[in-house]
């Protein structure tokens, strides 16, 4: 175990060399790197699936794929982006940053950490292998609603086991994060002094532990319905197909906050740094995050306004859902107040953060519109919804991850990224993401249902726009890959320990050398 020496490339300093270092590692930075690389690979795989979808939708008529394969693509695109790209990316950032931010030498449970990562690639490979199975991959949408999902061929049990593995991995990661945050903080680092990224992950981890077992249970019931003669979701046997939807969305709604709360955390780290001003309303940020976490458990059936719930149910879920706008609004106001009278500069991480604030708010507005149940009788399952959740997940979650990677990359690699390429990546992505998703609002309102491989002629223009945007968006990410490779290879300006002007006031991580040594905070810092 070497001490905290500074070296150009921390990859050379694992306890073992070569491949086994990565297989057996218990180091939070190694595991963080593994998570992040996996997330990037899966982001590209899921992206290729999105481009297959957008290629088919470029023009009316069926040009490239069978409708069944199209449905498999929409299903796998979602599952891979949610469970393979965004969640592992957050887990990667948590692994890298939480110990460094709270002054801990590593995660509390390093071997569990290794296991929770190593389940992931096998789960991902199993999910992708279903594409080659008899009957094709699952094609019932990522929500896997019965009875449709029970019509899946050989892929069904493999898809369900994949979800079990991913759930296991997430729960272990969540336990690890909670234990680390609650037990490993440096002296003086009280809960209400923790960086917002740590707070948002703490709440996210509790959400994960609460919801993943519900999802695992629901899909297990699918499994027994299919293979062991139960009738949980079969009306002919006394069951109810809508019961699955309640179980799924009891998982699914908090799940979408699992995808966004850590984003809030990242943005709350970046905006103060580049505004050269402390975060506005720290404690209200914490309370707002906790409120959103709580509300996420009591609003699930707003995904089911059209299943024929009693009107009292519809109204309850309408009111509860509308309430989420309050803490979310508080966050946006706090970010703007943080910038107010600051000294703002526009490096790449800040650009992503600003785009996040603007575009996530747009997704928030459409979310508010959809919370109104009578209006949702029109919006439900149309492209309006597709536009909404892509606005909160792409310029929302994905932009926050990109912001975080640009922000901390110099700390990880010891090199500044190429600012010119970073900004090019930002502008191409931001423009194309809007060309891709903004017209989808119009499509939905004009009457285009989601999850269809072909459409009526009046939807042609906006679909063509959307496809052009999607392809530019997809290929722009190759710039990101190039920027990463350049930094990792040690090509670029050497980063200082502070990296960003005045950053040492904005977090413990900026008081460590760049690149961060293999072991950090072996002697905990003392926080006043």
């Amino acid at each position: 175990m070497s001490a905290t020496a500074i070296h150009d490339d921390h990859h050379d300093h694992g306890p073992s060399k070569g491949l086994m270092r990565w297989v057996t590692t218990t180091n939070h930075k190694d595991i963080g790197t593994l998570y992040l690389i996996t997330a990037l690979v899966m982001f590209l795989v899921g992206g290729v699936m999105a481009l297959i979808i957008r290629a088919e939708l470029f023009e009316p008529g069926m040009q490239f794929v069978d409708p069944m394969f199209f449905n498999s693509m929409t299903t796998l695109h979602a599952l891979i982006m949610v469970f393979g790209a965004v969640m592992p990316a957050f887990a990667g950032l948590a692994n890298w940053m939480i110990p460094m931010m709270i002054g801990a030498p590593d995660m509390a449970l390093p071997r569990l950490n290794n296991w929770s990562y190593w389940l992931l690639p096998f789960a991902a490979v199993m999910l992708l292998s279903t594409l080659f199975m008899d009957g094709g991959a699952a094609a019932a949408g990522w929500t896997l609603y019965p009875p449709l999902v029970l019509q899946t061929g050989a892929a069904l049990p493999f898809t369900i086991f994949t979800i079990h593995l991913l759930g296991l991995s997430s729960i272990m990661a969540a336990i690890n994060i909670i234990v680390t945050i609650l037990n490993m903080r440096a002296p003086g680092m009280t809960l209400m002094k923790m960086p917002l990224f740590v707070w948002t992950w703490l709440i996210t981890a509790f959400l994960l532990i609460a919801i993943m077992p519900v999802f695992a249970g629901a899909v297990t019931m699918l499994l027994t319905d299919k293979f062991f003669g139960t009738s949980f979701f079969n009306a002919a046997g006394g069951g109810d197909p809508v019961l699955y939807q309640h179980l799924f969305w009891f998982f699914g709604h908090p799940e979408v906050y699992v995808l966004i709360l850590p984003s809030f955390g990242i943005i709350s780290q970046i905006i103060p740094t580049f505004s050269r001003k402390p975060l506005f309303g720290y404690s209200s940020m914490v309370y707002a995050t906790a409120s959103i976490g709580f509300l996420s458990f009591i609003v699930w059936a707003h995904h089911q306004y059209t299943v024929g719930m009693p009107v009292e149910g519809e109204l309850y879920f309408t009111y509860a859902t509308m309430l989420i706008a309050v803490p979310t609004g508080v966050k946006v106001f706090n970010w703007i107040s943080t910038m107010w009278k600051g000294a703002i500069s526009f490096e790449t991480p800040m650009l992503w953060a600003l785009a996040f604030v603007v575009l996530f708010t747009m997704g928030g507005f459409t979310g508010l519109m959809m919370s109104i149940s009578p209006a949702d009788l029109q919006y439900h399952d149309t492209y309006f919804i597709v536009a909404h959740f892509h606005y909160v997940l792409v310029p929302g979650a994905v932009f926050a991850i990109l912001a975080g990677v640009y922000y901390w990359l110099p700390k990880w690699t010891g090199r500044m990224y190429d600012e010119r390429l970073g900004q090019l990546h930002f502008w191409l992505t931001t423009i194309s993401v809007n060309v891709c998703f903004f017209p989808q609002h119009f499509l939905g309102l004009a009457g285009m249902p989601r999850r269809i491989p072909d459409y009526a002629l009046q939807f042609a223009e906006f679909n063509a726009w959307s496809s052009v945007g999607a392809f530019v968006f997809g290929f722009s990410q190759l710039i990101f890959c190039y920027v990463l490779i350049k930094c990792i290879r040690g090509d670029g300006e050497v980063a200082t320990s502070e990296v960003w002007e005045g950053a040492h006031e904005h977090g413990l991580e900026w008081n460590l050398p760049s690149p961060a040594p293999y072991h950090t905070w072996e002697t905990p810092p003392h926080i006043n």
């Binding site: 109204l315 000294a343 109104i372």
Partner: protein, 394 residues
């Protein structure tokens, strides 16, 4: 909103086709009181969001312009303001209250299916709709029109641009009277579907084993189109809905005509645009088919039945899709005993093969069995008649 139409030249610049049908960018007002209420609610929330957006984005942009480092500003150090924070928690809450009141009113109205003048039961099938006029004893199936069906096949020679109302036209539209409160009952035969006609203002899921309901009172005669909005398998995108609202007199005429015709083969001749398409699919009226009809007639009818009912899964080539939909070509059932073949079509085979007992007439079953046994790579020489089918259903 018309200014969005000025986008068209840009589409042209991109080298894309701009000869498509007229498009819109906003929710329709629809043709019922309820749909207008929903539209108004939608616009109300939209403008509230625009208002909030102007303030929030305005402040953001002001700050980005005036509070930047390059202007040499010295950053302030404030980081909380309790008054302000309470204010921007309370004001949004009040705005939400203001939105909740009209939302509640409209939702209660949408759920009030009482006092209906008539009831229509809608059943979602993979991938067609069945409409039953419960008080009249009239019922029929409604499937994608033949021309769209041809054009939407992978690599089809028929261009979608040449098909009128591509993917939004059916063989047998639902016909309703204007000015009557109609209660719709929904259920699913196989999986969950969702019945959506934007002009009526809502959609409702059709859930197997359960009944849901909704209502509409259409104000003006016209043709209103919609689609299935719950993913329901391979041809989810290809089961449109067409509702034709007629004056009461015209509706009664139509109804009388339906009652004269046979039950499930009800043929509707309602609009010139759909009429010519309809002819393609049921070109042979059921009355002219007798048990002694010749093989070529059976084959012709069987081909039409196959294309409307079987092709989605078993494919135009009859080769099916490996692992999901078995091939018709060289199938053991199709080349085995006739009775087993008929039995499979009548009763289906869970979970994927639907029962066609209530979907096809004995004539249709006989024709499609004959067709399958003598086409798609099979050549048994068998000719099956409606009598053979009736024998088995006794």
């Amino acid at each position: 909103m018309n200014r969005f139409k000025s986008l068209i030249p840009f589409v042209g610049l991109l080298g894309l086709k701009n000869a498509y049908a007229d498009y819109t960018v906003n929710l329709t007002e629809g043709v019922t009181e309820l749909s207008r209420d929903i539209h108004d609610l939608h616009m109300l929330i939209f403008w509230i969001c625009v208002g909030i957006g102007v303030i929030v984005y305005g402040l953001l942009v002001y700050s980005l312009i005036n509070h930047r480092k390059s202007k040499g500003v010295v950053p302030a150090t404030f980081h909380e303001n309790t008054k302000l924070e309470v204010l921007w928690t309370v004001i949004p809450f009040l705005i939400l209250l203001g939105m909740a009141v009209p939302a509640t009113k409209v939702m209660i109205k949408a759920y009030d299916t009482s006092g209906a003048d008539m009831t229509i039961k809608v059943t979602g099938y993979q991938w067609k709709w069945r409409y039953e006029y419960l008080d009249e004893g009239v019922s029929f199936f409604s499937t994608l029109d033949a021309k769209s069906n041809l054009a939407r096949q992978l690599g089809s020679e028929v261009k979608p641009e040449t098909v009128e109302n591509y993917l939004l036209n059916v063989d047998h539209p639902l016909v309703i009277p204007v000015g009557k409160k109609i209660r719709f009952l929904f259920t699913g035969a196989d999986v969950i579907h969702s019945w959506w006609v934007p002009d009526l203002g809502w959609k409702k899921d059709t859930i197997p084993g359960f009944i849901t309901d909704a209502w509409a009172k259409v104000e003006k005669p016209g043709i209103y189109r919609g689609q299935c909005t719950e993913l329901c398998g391979r041809d989810h995108g290809f089961m449109p809905i067409v509702v034709i609202a007629k004056t009461e007199a015209d509706y009664n005429l139509w109804l009388a005509e339906q009652k004269k015709g046979s039950d499930s083969a009800a043929s509707v001749d309602v609009s010139s645009e759909s009429a010519q398409v309809q002819k393609v699919e049921s070109s042979v009226p059921s009355q002219t088919l007798h048990d002694d009809s010749d093989k070529s007639q059976l084959m012709e009818r069987g081909k039409a039945v196959y294309e409307a009912n079987c092709l989605s899964c078993h494919q135009a080539s009859g080769e099916g899709i490996s692992g999901l939909f078995p091939a018709i070509r060289n199938s053991a059932v199709v080349n085995g005993p006739v009775a087993d073949h008929i039995h499979l079509i009548l009763n289906g085979k869970p979970p994927l093969m639907a029962s066609f007992k209530s979907v096809l007439t004995p004539d249709d079953v006989a024709a499609v069995v004959t067709y399958q046994r003598n086409a798609l790579g099979n050549n048994t020489g068998d000719v099956v008649h409606a009598g053979d089918v009736k024998e088995l259903t006794k």
